[in-house]
């Protein structure tokens, strides 16, 4: 019970725990892979503007798994990210668009146009 209102103030404890776990896993990666994850995290956080904590943590978790697998298989870094890492980052980010702050505005825009077009169920 108490945890519920505290979490409203602090954010989810579970998300925080998963985030700390993610940080530790990134630190454990070979330097080249760890540095890449950190650079991607920076880009994904800026470009993604993901406001939903659980979506953000899920995204970082998925990212870490990709590089952990790559490190375990000794997959060259370039084979993972391709020639244009920013393009890969965008492809990757698209999976988590539901959690983006801008998503509310996307839905608002679509329903505003539906209303203007007089479509049913758009009141």
């Amino acid at each position: 019970m108490a945890a519920e209102w505290i979490e409203k103030l602090t954010g989810s404890f579970e998300d925080k725990k998963r985030y700390r776990n993610y940080r530790a896993r990134v630190e454990a990666l070979p330097t080249a892979y760890g540095d890449s994850v950190k650079a991607l995290e920076r880009y994904l956080t800026y470009a993604g503007a993901i406001s939903a904590g659980d979506t953000l943590v899920q995204m970082l978790d998925d990212l870490a798994v990709l590089f952990e697998e790559a490190a375990a298989n000794s997959t060259p870094l370039r084979d993972v990210t391709g020639e244009n890492p920013a393009e890969f980052a965008e492809d990757f980010l698209a999976n988590y668009s539901d959690g983006q702050w801008i998503n509310k505005e996307r839905m608002r825009l679509n329903s505003a146009i539906a209303k203007a077009a007089g479509e049913a169920g758009s009141s």
């Binding site: 697998e69 375990a72 997959t75 084979d79 993972v80 391709g82 020639e83 990757f92």
Partner: protein
């Protein structure tokens, strides 16, 4: 593989991956390795991974985690019935796209010829009428 080929491949990559999984279950890196063997050398493993995350989110594949000696447990992807339905739809769309694009490629094909080919496959009689009008207009353009 050039830039154009990579861009083209992007749109159909999901269908290709589902088709591979339709033949047999596979790990992510097995799919990337297969694509590279087939000459799709520019495909980043990360891109395939992002795609697998997406098809998993959309419930097109079943995922089984298998412990591995080194690294995190490996995910084995298997096409499920929803994925199979999605793949059937992909092949249908692919067939239509190939027909339409090829009709533009045929030697001596004009835009009017392509329109009537499209109308035939759609089986719409009204579209057929439009195609005739297009042909007439085309004739006028050539006359100028």
């Amino acid at each position: 593989m050039g830039k154009q080929a990579t861009e083209m491949l992007k749109g159909v990559l999901e269908g290709i991956v589902l088709a591979i999984l339709g033949r047999q279950s596979a790990y992510g890196y097995e799919i990337t390795a297969w694509l590279r063997d087939q000459g799709f050398t520019d495909i980043a493993e990360g891109t395939v991974y992002a795609l697998l995350v997406r098809v998993e989110q959309r419930g097109l594949v079943d995922v089984e985690k298998v412990p591995s000696e080194k690294g995190p447990p490996r995910k084995v992807y298997t096409l499920n019935s929803q994925g199979r339905a999605h793949l059937d739809e992909f092949w249908g769309q692919w067939g239509l796209l190939v027909d339409r694009v090829e009709s533009l490629h045929r030697p001596g094909a004009t835009s009017a010829g392509a329109t009537s080919a499209g109308a035939t496959s759609a089986g719409a009689s009204s579209a057929g009428t439009n195609a005739t009008e297009d042909t007439a207009q085309e004739g006028t353009h050539h006359g100028r």
